[in-house]
């Protein structure tokens, strides 16, 4: 060690770190870098960015605080952690906002340079919390991060303003030292990112190293922490966010179906990234269309579906509402289409940057007329990859729209992902009819699926549209009996997807007193909560629904084997409503928290314990 001082290295199993600062302080970047480095040393991890809706809220204010939390461990983990063990606070507002969330005795590293009168006032501190005892009970490290960054950059040729920008790298370097992480992942990233701006590479590298060395030199830190690599299954891994995984999933579906990919989309938080990602991959025969509005986003995709593409549209709740009528058109014309709804807090504009699961009923029922569509939901960030493929497979093989539900938490969260090989991915069977003999646009196969004929196919010219069709011929029909038949056929066709979707699996005993059932992004919190309760001796099972319409065919049977079903949802009980009416289960216990935040695993654990009576459920 640099100063000859002995620093103790403490082995720990897991830790939750939160970086917080002004939205202009680069906290998202710092968090992402820390995640990538942490992933590369083999820890399991889960992340949760939390940023304000305003791009640059006034500096120093509470509502301008941007945060990034990550939970990493030498064991399997499933959530970004409940309460942070470590907080890096770049200004008073960041401290104020995050203090209530911290674990008792948590470590706090603050940038003292920003604790001036003005910033303290902006954060609403009447006196300086570093001096008035507010932080007693915490392990506080006050570090003049800005000053130390300036010192390190003394002979770099940059303006003061630009130099100040490097302070997040100083903080990052210090955290790397504290948790014994290597610098090379970030250094490589810097060199690539600022290829054409060598002065920025130099500045940020110097700041990063200065932060790292500061940990070494200062005598303040007596302990460093070591988190052994997690024992993950063998394979090659990468860190992946939900939006990235969604975009890649569609590219994979395009490759596996042999169809070109078309995305029609209008930018909306938190879904825009999927459009951004896919617009980069033109060499995969991907066409992206940034449409004039949400409706043009979906209708251009419907046009592309008619033309023979794997067609998708991406949006969030408000956009899904606008696309409603067009989804009905795709139902009526029986064209394959995937609609991605990255849910956010609603109603109306709601909480654009926060997460929620309150679009389930909209996805299932939000259309005029009887207009059933397939609905699937991803459970974790990396699961978005698989569910994007599944949504595409179902849409293409059943000639119908399918809605893929993700949410803000999955979209922006990330986790290590064991990368699959292409030949392990499901194959998607697509057939274009080219034989004019006996062709009828609404003839049906054994699954009630109509044929797909690409315009440009000679002698098969035909017309489709939003008016009710006569079965088989596809001609416009106002016949009452035909309408009833077509309504029934469209519903049965969606139901037929049950033949090709996997059964609902139960983790733990297949029958018993309590099953915790979830859907979508609650998976991680439920899994962690259930495991904790089990470690305390409670007997509890878990199941997670990824197919919401139709449900897996064994769903009713699985549910009937449990006396009580705990159903946590980040809405007011939407899946509960559906399950109650579909399966008439009387033991469904709703657990609803609609805060714009994911469930904490401790909340699930406590609920389980409360339900199982506080005692060991062996009896």
């Amino acid at each position: 060690m640099g100063n000859g001082k002995e620093t103790e290295v403490k082995q720990i199993r897991e830790v939750t770190v939160r970086f917080a600062g002004d939205s202009g302080d680069g906290m998202q970047l710092t968090g992402t870098q820390f995640s990538d480095t942490t992933a590369s040393v083999g820890n399991d991890l889960s992340t949760l960015p939390d940023y304000p809706a305003e791009i640059r809220a006034p500096a120093g204010t509470l509502y301008g605080v941007s945060g990034f939390q990550l939970h990493f461990s030498s064991n399997d983990i499933f959530t970004p952690g409940d309460k942070p063990d470590v907080l890096v606070a770049m200004n008073p507002a960041a401290l104020k906002k995050n203090l209530p969330d911290l674990k008792p005795g948590a470590m706090i590293i603050v940038n003292t340079d920003s604790f001036d009168k003005k910033n303290l006032a902006l954060a609403g501190f009447e006196s300086n919390p570093l001096e008035d005892g507010t932080l007693s009970g915490f392990e506080v490290y006050d570090v003049p991060i800005t000053t130390l960054t300036f010192n390190a950059l003394e002979d770099v040729d940059l303006s003061t303003k630009d130099k100040a920008r490097s302070k997040n790298f100083f903080a990052l370097g210090l955290m790397y030292w504290l948790f014994e992480r290597p610098l090379d992942t970030t250094l490589n990233w810097l060199r690539e990112k600022f290829k054409n701006k060598p002065e920025l590479i130099e500045a940020n590298e110097k700041a990063l190293r200065a932060g790292y060395n500061f940990g070494d030199i200062t005598e303040r830190f007596t302990t460093r922490y070591k988190i052994e690599p997690a024992k993950l299954p063998a394979g090659t891994y990468r860190n992946i966010s939900g939006n990235e995984a969604t975009a890649w999933g569609f590219i994979a579906a395009s490759v596996r179906s042999g169809l070109p990919l078309f995305l029609g989309s209008y930018p909306i938080t938190p879904a825009s990234e999927i459009l951004q990602f896919l617009s980069k991959y033109k060499n995969f025969n991907v066409r992206t269309f940034q449409a004039e509005d949400e409706i043009a986003g979906i209708t251009s995709a419907i046009g592309a579906a008619f033309a023979g593409n794997l067609a998708i549209t991406t949006t969030s709740g408000p956009g899904l509402a606008l696309k409603t009528e067009a989804i009905g058109l795709a139902v009526m014309t029986e064209l394959p289409l995937v609609i991605v709804d990255v849910q956010r807090g609603g109603p109306s504009t709601g909480l654009p940057t926060k997460t929620e699961q309150a679009d389930l009923l909209q996805a299932l029922y939000g259309r005029n007329g009887e207009a059933p569509v397939g609905v699937v939901a991803a459970a974790t960030p990396s699961d978005c990859f698989h569910m994007a493929i599944e949504a595409s497979r179902l849409a293409l093989e059943f000639m119908t729209p399918v809605i893929l539900l993700s949410d803000g938490y999955l979209a922006n969260g990330s986790e290590p992902w064991k990368i699959p090989h292409v030949d392990e991915l499901p194959e998607i069977k697509v057939k274009f009819l080219t034989e004019p003999e006996g062709f009828k646009p609404y003839a049906r196969d054994e699954n009630l699926v109509r044929p797909w004929v690409k315009p440009g196919t000679p002698n098969m010219e035909h017309r489709i549209g939003g008016l009710e069709k006569a079965n088989i011929t596809g001609n416009v029909s106002y016949d009452p009996e035909n309408h009833h038949q077509m309504v029934t056929i469209r519903a049965q066709k969606v139901k037929n997807m049950q033949k090709v979707i996997p059964d609902l699996e139960v983790d733990g005993d297949k029958e018993g007193d309590l099953l915790v059932l979830g859907w979508g992004s609650t998976y991680g919190a439920i899994k962690e909560g259930v495991e904790r309760a089990r470690r305390k001796g409670y007997k509890v099972s878990q199941a997670h629904l990824k197919y919401l319409n139709p449900f897996p065919k064994n769903t009713g049977e699985v549910l009937s084997k449990f006396k009580r079903i705990l159903l946590p949802e980040v809405n007011m009980g939407q899946l509960a409503k559906v399950l109650k009416s579909e399966f008439l289960h009387h033991g469904i216990i709703q657990f609803n928290l609609v805060r714009g935040l994911p469930f904490r695993s401790t909340e699930i654990e406590e609920k389980i314990i409360e339900l199982l009576g506080g005692g060991n459920n062996g009896q």
Binding site: N285, I295, G456, N459
Partner: protein, 347 residues
């Protein structure tokens, strides 16, 4: 259905473009004339293949059009035809995509899609059946109804100012902007053919008589006695003259259009404005568009403007091609394993 075997260029007849569906517009509707002229003109489009034609429509009387054409067709939802057509054309540049639409469909509920298709120069042909009324919903005023019009929803007369569809298309930078009239078969055929051959967004407004809810809306332009004094036929490179005796002309006094009398001894044919479709500047086309419905001027028909610019679909596909050439055809396995990865081995 004619049995066409693919050998070189196929010779079609108008009947080849008629579907087996009964046409169900009101007897006497201008839509019949438009359908007939389209079916007559399509065989004349050089290199046309029936299977490569797609008609897309929205909602309204005019939007039934695709059902009657024996081509690929998509009768969609209100106002969205240009966006659907865009999705088709972007992904299938080999297809020729037509939109059949009405004044409510295109200029009211679908206004946004219309201006953005024009702005981007998507290679689609938009045929607007303008009858200045909501006909399918049985007679409410439309965005092109004249001010003061009494309809079911404006019992005391409409107080809205109408859209001038040509000005709107010009303002949105459409690269082909033209107008014709349902009753003028020859002119309409010529305009359809011109639109078909244009590369880029082709906008063709057709004045269409709805004899049920707005009969006679274009009477001045179609009645024998009045039409010659009220219609100005725009022809590229020709002076803008009109009138029964071809003795009136349009001239410009600064930026002010005026009608001059070629017999008054003061003016000659040399004073008359000569039409230039390809004028880069919007100003003259815009001035001409504003002669529409003007009590002192004839209403122009013909091609107001035609520009030759790369189309949106062409550019999008060009970019796909260039990126693919530069980066090589995408390799999924490589992509998945690219960047920051790490390996966990068995132990």
């Amino acid at each position: 259905m004619a049995n066409n075997i693919e050998v070189g260029e196929i010779k079609y007849t108008p009947k080849d473009f008629a579907s087996d569906q009964d046409v169900r517009w009101c007897p006497g509707c201008g839509d019949y004339a438009i359908l007939a002229q389209v079916q007559r003109t399509f065989p004349k489009i050089p290199g046309i293949k029936r299977e490569n034609i797609v008609w897309v429509s929205g909602i309204g009387c005019s939007s039934r059009f695709p059902y009657y054409m024996n081509t690929y067709g998509f009768h969609s939802i209100h106002g969205r035809a240009p966006a659907i057509a865009t999705g088709i054309k972007l992904t299938r540049p080999d297809l020729q995509v037509w939109v059949a639409t009405g004044d409510g469909d295109l200029l009211s509920i679908g206004g946004n899609h219309f201006i953005h298709a024009c702005r981007k120069n998507v290679d689609i042909k938009i045929m607007l059946f303008n009858n200045r009324i909501y006909a399918l919903t049985k007679g409410q005023y439309s965005p092109t109804s004249e001010r003061g019009k009494i309809t079911k929803t404006t019992p005391y007369g409409s107080v809205d100012y109408p859209f001038n569809a040509i000005s709107l298309a010009l303002g949105a930078n459409a690269t082909f902007v033209a107008r014709s009239i349902d009753r003028d078969a020859k002119h309409l055929q010529a305009m359809i053919l011109r639109a078909a051959q244009h590369k880029g967004t082709a906008f063709l407004e057709i004045y269409q008589n709805c004899n049920i809810f707005n009969d006679g809306a274009f009477r001045l332009l179609t009645d024998k006695e009045t039409k010659e004094d009220h219609v100005l036929y725009l022809e590229h490179g020709k002076p803008m003259i009109f009138g029964k005796n071809k003795d009136k002309g349009i001239a410009l006094n600064g930026l002010e259009p005026i009608v001059i009398d070629l017999n008054d001894g003061k003016h000659s044919i040399d004073d008359v404005l000569v039409h230039d479709e390809n004028d880069d500047s919007l100003i003259r086309a815009f001035i001409l568009s504003h002669l529409t419905d003007h009590p002192d001027f004839p209403t122009p028909v013909g091609v107001f403007r035609q520009l030759f610019q790369p189309t949106y679909d062409e550019s999008v596909n060009q970019q796909v091609k260039e990126v693919t050439e530069k980066l090589g055809k995408g390799d999924l396995e490589k992509m998945l394993f690219s960047g920051n990865t790490w390996t966990v081995s068995d132990n």
